[in-house]
Amino acid sequence: MASLLDLLVAGLATGAIYALVAVGFTLLWQTSQTINFAQGEFVMLPAFLMLAAMHAGAPFWLAIVIGILLSMILLGLAFKMLLVDPMLRHGVLPLAIATMALAIGMKEAVKQFFSAEASPFPSIVPTNDISVFGHVISLQSLGVFVVAILAVMGLTALLNRTSLGHQMQAAAQNPTVARIIGVPVERMILLTFLINAVLVALASLLITPIYLAKFSSGEVLGQAAFIAAIVGGFNQVRGAIAGGLLIGVLDNLSAAYVSTQYRAAVPLIFLIVIILFRPQGLLGRSEERTV
């Protein structure tokens, strides 16, 4: 059995990736009431875009740039224009169903046009182990954690410290008033979709070297990010970060100490308890009931 420290580090690393995905998820919910059931597939796709670029002969760094740009176009712009915009005014549920169909379509497209097999993916952080005070720690976990946390901190700084971020928050909280005081709400909403695309591309870049690139790898990840977003607070960016880290650690610890068979059950039971007793999430604000 791995030591507690190893489990914590590995848990924090996967948790940081969950946090990235969960933050994107909450951003879409806040600005445009989109429950994106394809968020896991959104993480799966950029890895394949990067692999395709590498197969075409691009070096790794260029492939990363191409992958991020393509996912901004496909998962940000096209997703908003073609799917969300026409459906938004019809309520939450049809749009959620459409994203479920999108998830099926994306999985099948990757299976058909790329491969049904898992493909290896190069890591952007070193994969060897280092020794700290006599403990062997995976440098990859540490690197993933650092990169993901830097990204999340960058995003939080953008949201809280810049005028652009304030405008985005205003657009999310009260579009009508934001429009009155001159915030370009439409552009801000588009920006959140682009940020989500960058976040999922980054998550893809970090997680794929660990779990390999496979068309179905989004399912588990999407659900974990989902749970993280709700546990932390569906309407708060910092909630999603806390939720992601918590679920990552919980997942790894329960695999070691509860049972491998029911490891997936622990976060789910946690989720049910949270929703029933604190539906706004650990750090979330409660949503007022409208009559």
Binding site: I35, M87, G105, I269, I275, P279, V291
Partner: protein, 332 residues
């Protein structure tokens, strides 16, 4: 609606029923399997339509109830129980679990409720997979017998198809009656305005739980038939994607319309089969078709029909009004 339209609708219904009975008689094994699957999935989707379409409670767990029903029926029939008795247990088990799942709905609504039921669905899958002493684990349960109904053996595909179709007919009549009863109106009042319903004296608590329990029980019926249909069950078909598929069927067909689940299940079960000639692309095309349909009509297929009929009615009414007005003017 004029008397003519009413007769027309009854005639159309009879033609469809006759076609469902007569045409499959020459189908091959696979065709009958797909049609039986359509009937079974329609029953499950009708249950969800009751919970979601009429009572307005989002559930992402209907697939889990199909699983509960299927396992109950598979375990009991392989131990020598007759199917009707096993089906009774399937229904009862999913009714009780559905009732319990209704309790979260008393506290949270909409997307939170969706997430609770989603978590339940995944938990149920884990139980199916891990409790191998009961469910056979990943190896599943094989050699599930098909029943004798009133002395008729249903081992062959055709009689079993008629069994599924007959069950669908019974369930349809029951649901038709239910949504026209005061219960149906109470369910709809939960969907439209729970606070107002409560102030008018509707026991919203009881009806919310009932909406879940009855919808889930229909999922149990579908599962109870699914097990003898495939004669082998393992946990995989009952994972979260079945729940999502059933939800898609209800929304695509038209949530809150009686015939919605029939059409939705037709699209989800039959459309992929019709698209098989495109080989690897069929599920992709299916996904695109669903997205395009939802963009075009978020209320589903029957939503299109509904809008068309409403349009025509407004046109007829305004034509009548114009005639009456011109008559009035000539009199003056």
């Amino acid at each position: 609606m004029s008397a003519n339209g009413r007769y027309l609708r009854i005639a159309a219904g009879l033609v469809v029923i006759a076609a469902l009975i007569a045409i499959p008689a020459n189908f091959n094994r696979y065709g009958l399997f797909i049609l039986s699957q359509w009937a079974v999935m329609t029953i499950a989707a009708m249950g969800l339509n009751l919970t979601l379409g009429y009572a307005g409670q989002v559930s992402l767990a209907q697939g889990a109830f199909v699983g509960v029903g299927a396992y109950a029926s598979a375990i009991l029939t392989t131990h020598g129980w007759p199917l009707p008795a096993a089906l009774g247990v399937s229904i009862l088990t999913s009714f009780i679990i559905g009732w319990l799942l209704g309790y979260p709905a008393l506290r949270v609504q909409h997307h939170y409720l969706a997430f609770v039921t989603l978590a339940f669905s995944t938990l149920a899958f884990l139980v199916f997979r891990n409790e191998s002493w009961l469910t056979g684990g990943i190896y599943g349960i094989s050699n599930i017998p098909r029943p004798h109904i009133f002395g008729f053996a249903t081992n062959k595909p055709l009689p079993f198809y008629y069994l599924c179709l007959g069950s669908l007919a019974i369930v349809s009549l029951a649901v038709w009656w239910l949504i026209r009863s005061p219960w149906g109106r109470a369910f709809m009042s939960l969907r439209e305005n729970p606070l107002r319903a409560q102030s008018l004296g509707v026991d919203t608590r009881r009806y919310t739980l009932m909406a879940f329990a009855i919808g889930s029980a229909l999922g149990g019926v579908a599962g109870g038939l699914y097990a003898p249909l495939t004669q082998y069950i393992d946990p995989v078909p009952f994972n979260l994607s079945l729940s999502l598929d059933l939800l898609m069927m209800v929304i695509v067909g038209g949530s809150g319309f009686f015939f919605g689940p029939f059409l939705g299940a037709m699209i989800a079960v039959l459309l992929p089969e019709w698209l098989r000639f495109t080989q690897g692309y069929y599920l992709m095309l299916y996904a695109i078709a669903v997205i395009v349909l939802l963009i075009w009509s978020p209320t589903g297929i029957l939503g299109i029909l509904d809008r068309f009929l409403a349009n025509r009615r407004t046109k007829t009414a305004s034509a009548l009004r114009a005639v009456a007005k011109s008559r009035l003017e000539t009199v003056q």
